[in-house]
Assembly symmetry: C2
């Protein structure tokens, strides 16, 4: 029982959604989102440019995930269109009716496209403006929802500036709002996810979603939110203070961006010094005019499996890095193989240890490249060893 | 990249899970839990003694929810068994194989039984020890998982004591651990959910799950947790301090229990004074030896629909209470009809306003009982009016 009091509403385009984003690895809980927006829809497909597979699988998409490769301009839209067209021809993702209560603002998309368009994880690549426009048009044509994790958009710099500024390239959701006269339905075809865990402190797991007012209305009707309010209301109330008094903005501009710019340079130099001479290839190299995010990604020489390399780095040199395999899409690994890829996160470890970490990685690689040990011992054997030693 | 450091593990029986529980209405986000434990299982059924329907529906259980009535001993186990047997005969919930990675500690239960066994929401009833044993045996027989929201177990008192003490009746998960030699599989058939939002502060949305070590291992593999850590790690780190220094225990014993005991008495007296003379029937009345929880539940006279009553209370007297309809199970409303039920939450509103609130409810009811206005105007009409005025 309560006496009626006034209630404040949030901006209709914005919804404080998660309990999601997280610490040193850039993970988003798309959990609530997929459950809310893909309710009961057991025939649609998800295409992804990497990552978050197990969250989608938890929400019932096992066996329906497809990997889409990237090139230097970002998402390979031609490949994506071929995949969507094939899916369409096969008759999947047929229209389904909303059955869940309350039946307000519900829409079943035939397809979901998940992407990190700016400073992607793991590749660090940024999808170009042209490609973003093509993505929106594709999404409209194939009844797809683009879920864009725009989590690194505030963390960027160039050679002369480290000031806090708007994203240097429009987000996909912005493009959907204006392209060719705006969204073709009131739901739109793109949403933007973002997180305070990436820009204020790891572990806050509080973020926001931006979409059309109709989509946001539907998202707000997620059962656990209707029943209990926003998942992160306590943390959100703390974060709100940092936004209002400028702490957050100062933190991004005076701490994060300058530090990340230095860190990126340190890591980049160390890779050039310790790894490139051993045959390592740097992927997704950023132009000096637009650098940002948390990651650098490189490929090992063809005779070295990343899983094996990561294991040796961990066992021999106490250095923890991510092997490309964990970003492969389960069930569609061969579309975007990553078994020679290694991701370096430069955002977490102490700045003065970054160069030492890469020196050790160079040592590990040099040892593995000695003729007698550079033997590809087969994926299963490596998998087995890695799992065994981790458990 | 990070240098390897030691890691602490939680007790294998306990898992800090949500981002869930919530403020003035007792809502749990079973969201993560259902997604994690019912992965891809699209044929099993959920039986419930009330509430949380939309969370299950978000996770794909639309059309597969069944309501189970209660009597004075709690869950009507005979009715439940008949429902499970019927479901079994119809061949639903067939065994399915786990397909999700990592394939550790996964089990598909044929059925899920959701219940608030102690001081249930909305009825306030407590399921007896005998019934709890029967529930566990039924769950084992029909391959069911009992999800027990044990959220009010620390909030109880009797006529002489308000001290903090263990639950006065064993939880279902405790019974499963020991009954007839203990769990019949390593997963067990019961888990216990609890929340700090109910005992420390509303809106914390942080709780814990207790189950067998194998079940907890599986639950910990939920994609969003593997990827990003516990959903509420920041809040959990604050709560941990209150546990270690005794703040939480003191708060329950010195603030909550004495206050709730007084509140319950105030509400109870006011109902006797203002509502019982008008034909209201108190449901789930608690013995003096075991009182607790947040709620009192009563039935209006047969000619008054709760939805209509709640609307009038809101519009005419600015008092907000919950009508029974919201606890009905979508698709199985007639099994446990609640359209004359009204739930009073005595935990939230200021203590000195509780009696005034009930006086106003009495005024509303008296007005509605005047011959010319006591007309049942049909459920749809009321639904329409209520929705319209709320939107």
């Amino acid at each position: 029982m309560a006496f009626v009091k006034p209630v404040w509403f949030v901006h209709p385009h914005l919804y404080l959604l998660f309990s999601n984003y997280t610490s040193l690895t850039p993970a988003s809980s798309l959990h609530s989102l997929t459950a809310a927006s893909c309710r009961e829809n057991n025939r649609n497909n998800i295409t992804t440019t990497g990552f978050q597979g197990s969250i989608f699988e938890d929400n019932g998409f096992v066996g329906r995930l497809r990997a889409i490769p990237e090139d230097d301009e970002g998402v390979d839209v031609a490949y994506l269109e071929a995949s969507l067209a094939k899916h369409n021809e096969e008759g999947h993702g047929s229209d389904q009716k909303a059955r869940k209560r309350p039946q307000v603002a519900q829409k079943h998309y035939k397809n979901i496209i998940y992407t990190v368009p700016t400073f992607s994880n793991p590749s660090g690549r940024t999808t170009s403006l042209d490609r973003r426009r093509e993505l929106v048009r594709l999404a409209r044509k194939y009844d797809a929802l683009i879920i864009a994790d725009d989590i690194y958009d505030f963390i960027h710099w160039n050679s002369t500036s480290t000031s806090l500024s708007p994203p240097f390239i429009p987000r996909i959701v912005d493009i959907d709002h204006v392209l060719d006269g705006g969204p073709t339905t009131s739901f739109g075809n793109a949403i933007s996810n973002a997180s305070f865990s990436k820009i204020l402190a790891p572990g806050l797991r509080t973020g926001w979603t931006e979409a059309t007012p109709t989509f946001i209305r539907g998202l707000s009707q997620c059962g656990s939110s209707v029943s209990g309010g926003a998942p992160s209301q306590f943390v959100a109330s703390i974060i709100a203070q940092t936004l209002m008094n400028g702490t957050l903005q100062n933190h991004i501009e005076r701490v994060l961006i300058p530090s990340f710019k230095r860190r990126y340079q340190v890591v980049h130099s160390a890779i050039e010094r310790y790894l490139l001479p051993l045959g390592v290839v740097l992927e997704g190299k950023m132009e000096k005019s637009m650098q940002g995010g948390y990651f650098v990604y490189f490929l090992l020489p063809p005779c070295i499996l990343a899983k094996q390399f990561v294991l040796r780095a961990w066992e021999d040199e106490a250095v923890l890095v991510a092997d490309g395999d964990i970003f492969e899409v389960h069930g569609d690994e061969d579309a975007v193989p990553a078994r020679h890829g290694v991701r370096i996160c430069f955002a977490w470890e102490q700045e003065n240890l970054l160069s030492e970490g890469l020196r050790r990685l160079g040592k590990v690689l040099a040892n593995m490249l000695e003729p007698e040990s550079c033997v590809v011992i087969g994926r299963e054997a490596v998998d087995g060893k890695f799992l065994e030693s981790k458990i």
